[in-house]
């Protein structure tokens, strides 16, 4: 029975990582439901963007308070995870603080962990206060009810508990306290437990150790169901983010083909496809559901951490319109999840469920409120482009359904007829010079 803890630990480790891997595979499958898009160019620039924006958090500090607090939690997360490595080795092999043998440097490491742990704890408390007491507007928009609201708080509670357990574990570890090497913070917590017999301390230490590591396994698996996925996906998303000027919208190649054919005086619109080739299905213009979006857009939907910086900069949202760029991303993700579950329950095939992203999740009213000003794109700390999804859905509305607002149809008719959005004759274009 001596090995029972090791076995239990190994089983938990395998379960934790195994289930996580299963969900990651599902995540990749869902993202691949999107259309192909070529993002294989400019690898070095892309890598630089990822290092600067995701690893270096460069856009987080556009809002200095949130940026600084986030940096604390982020650095804490990166660094304290080194400790998790020790915990896993200890757990599997039944050792205790395997790295402590390296002497002084161990104390330095643990000291850093402890300082970070307390900083993270404080930062997370401030986050919680901003969300729940100060009630910053961007955390209380219409889309931030029920699950999104709870999810955000659960993550904060998780982090508070994990940091507390880490410090308690160190404070009640008698041999560690006696080493007096690295217990920078926990030495002040240790006295809270003074007077307890060493055996009780040991039980508390073991309990804290186990709950801490099991908590980490649970948190790891919580990611897939949470906005917290951004801790992983921020990296690929910033890598694949657009490198073009923000004003440059893609030119649909499928449309270019049709327009060139239309303008070619020698083209025969009734020509049969050449011998031996299948007649091509005409491409669908724009997007009405998640499968019409490209996979980078779908990756972005999973990356969104619902911080709402986009929405708080959106001119439409600021003036009370229904459009919220954050909701566009959340809707895209929720619909993609729905499609994914549909595929799971139908043995790998998507069965039409009579629903789609357009209409059932995102309304026409939201789409037509956008000014395409790129404020949302500029604000996003992880290079998400909600505007590209809005535009793709407008394209579907206009080119597949002719469902533009009447005034816009007038404007477009004017352009078609006389080359200007107003009903003026093209022959009068230079009249201003003599007026």
């Amino acid at each position: 029975m001596h090995y029972l803890p090791n076995i239990i630990f190994a089983v938990l480790l395998i379960l934790g990582i195994g289930y996580f891997t299963k969900n990651v595979k599902k995540l990749i499958r869902n993202i691949k439901l999107g259309q192909d898009v070529d993002v294989s160019d400019n690898k070095s620039q892309r890598f630089k963007n990822m290092m600067r924006i995701a690893f270096g958090q460069s856009k987080m500090v556009r809002r200095p308070v949130a940026g600084l607090l986030h940096a604390v939690v982020y650095v804490g997360f990166l660094v304290i995870n080194i400790e998790v490595l020790e915990i896993i080795i200890d757990g599997v092999f039944g050792t205790h603080r395997i790295f402590s043998g390296i002497g002084k440097p161990y104390g330095v490491l643990i000291g850093i962990f402890e300082v970070l742990a307390i900083l993270v704890f404080v930062a997370v408390i401030v986050f919680w206060v901003r969300r729940n007491i100060i009630k910053l507007r961007r955390f209380w928009n219409k889309e931030m009810t029920s699950w999104p609201k709870n999810d955000a708080n659960y993550i904060l509670y998780f982090e508070m508990v994990l940091m507390t357990l880490f410090l308690v574990m160190n404070a009640t570890d008698v041999s560690f306290q006696n080493m007096n090497n690295g217990n920078i913070v926990s030495q002040f917590i240790a006295p809270w437990f003074s007077g307890l017999p060493e055996s009780t301390l040991h039980v508390i230490e073991r309990a804290a150790w186990w709950i801490h590591i099991v908590g980490i396994f649970i948190f790891l698996n919580y990611l897939y169901y949470s906005k917290h996925l951004h801790i992983i996906l921020a990296f690929p998303n910033t890598y694949y983010g657009s490198l073009k000027p923000k004003g440059q919208f893609d030119n649909l190649a499928s449309v270019t083909k049709e327009v060139k054919l239309m303008m070619d005086p020698n083209a025969d619109p009734f020509a049969a496809p050449p011998e031996g080739t299948e007649a091509e299905m005409p491409a669908k213009f724009g997007a009405s559901d998640v499968q019409d979006l490209n996979w980078v857009q779908l990756l972005s939907a999973y990356t969104c951490t619902e911080c709402g910086r986009c929405t708080s900069a959106c001119p439409a949202n600021l003036t009370g319109k229904k459009l919220s760029p954050r909701k566009i991303m959340m809707d895209t993700r929720d619909r993609l999840e729905e499609v994914g579950k549909n595929i799971d329950t139908n043995n790998g095939e998507f069965k039409d469920d009579g629903k789609q992203l357009l209409g059932d999740y995102i309304t026409h009213e939201e789409l037509w409120a956008c000014t395409t000003c790129n404020a949302c794109v500029e604000e996003c700390p992880v290079s998400i482009n909600p505007l590209s999804i809005i535009l793709d859905m407008r394209r579907y509305l206009v080119m597949e359904q002719s469902a533009a607002p009447a005034e816009l149809n007038n404007m477009m008719t004017n352009i078609e007829n006389n080359g200007a959005p107003w009903p003026y004759n093209q022959m009068d274009r230079l009249n201003w010079k003599d007026e």
Binding site: K260, T371, P421, K433
Partner: protein, 263 residues
């Protein structure tokens, strides 16, 4: 209008077998909108004064298709683009300047992939070049002591990262430049972009241009400077909605420069 504006067309140049230094893309607003036409003329006065060899397409110019594209009509956009590119390429145009950031963005970023590659400048960038190369001088003084706040056009600023050229020009007027809280990359849209100019806004608490005008009014300006004909309309309407039109004027940077030189 005192002296006559010199506005040659590309066809005129072609007839003489010459190429102008730059094509001035007037745009639909600049050609037809009464307010925007004044901006067009102010810019032409600057071009004339600096002896710039420029030409317009005149009746051969057509809508860039930008607004159709933002409205989702990629077909119409590409038809307009391909037609315009045919004309531009036939005249072997190399360099284009325009007063409209939407045309600027569209010509600069969205035409190349359809076969139309040109050097495209916004008029603030072009005037700045003229000043830097010594071809045009602004003495300034008319606006000395006036408070001017600049409203960044989304399609010049965020869309193309040009925040400095308009501000550099404003400096030459010797006015006091005051920034709104939301400016440069955090600038708030005037509300006209994405084809909003041509439709009623969706239901909400207020209009975007009024919110943006409130931003500007907080700087207590004498003048709100713009760099886009659509922004100009929106801000002018905003100032009217706030009943401040007697105290605050909305002027394009080209107009401010032309007025500075009493052109």
């Amino acid at each position: 209008m005192g002296e006559l504006l010199k506005v040659p067309t590309m066809a005129d140049y072609m007839a003489e077998g010459k190429q102008p230094e730059v094509l001035f893309w007037v745009g639909s607003a600049g050609s037809f909108d009464d307010r925007a036409k004044k901006i067009t003329k102010a810019f032409v006065k600057i071009l004339n004064k600096a002896d710039v060899d420029f030409a317009v397409l005149g009746t051969e110019e057509s809508c860039t298709g930008d607004v159709a594209k933002r409205a989702g009509n990629e077909f119409l956009f590409q038809m307009q683009a391909l037609m315009n590119i045919e004309v531009l390429n036939a005249y072997e145009v190399k360099k284009i300047v325009t007063c409209d950031p939407h045309s600027f963005n569209c010509l600069k970023n969205e035409y190349p992939n359809l076969g139309g590659t040109y050097e495209v400048l916004h008029h603030t960038q072009f005037i700045k070049e003229l000043i830097e190369s010594g071809r045009f001088k602004v003495e300034g003084g008319v606006y000395k002591g006036k408070r001017i706040t600049f409203h960044d056009p989304c399609y010049l600023g965020r869309a193309n990262n040009e925040y400095d050229a308009p501000r550099a020009l404003l400096k030459t007027t010797k006015a006091d430049i005051v920034e709104m809280k939301r400016h440069k990359s955090t600038g708030l849209c005037c509300g006209a972009g994405g084809a909003q100019m041509f439709k009623e806004p969706e239901k909400g608490d207020m209009d975007v241009n009024v919110l943006r005008t409130e931003d500007a009014l907080k700087t207590n300006p004498n003048i709100i400077a713009t760099g886009c004909p659509y922004c100009n309309t929106m801000m002018t309407d905003g100032v009217k909605a706030k009943e401040k039109e007697a105290d605050i004027s909305v002027l394009d940077i080209a107009e401010l420069i032309a007025n500075s030189e009493e052109l």
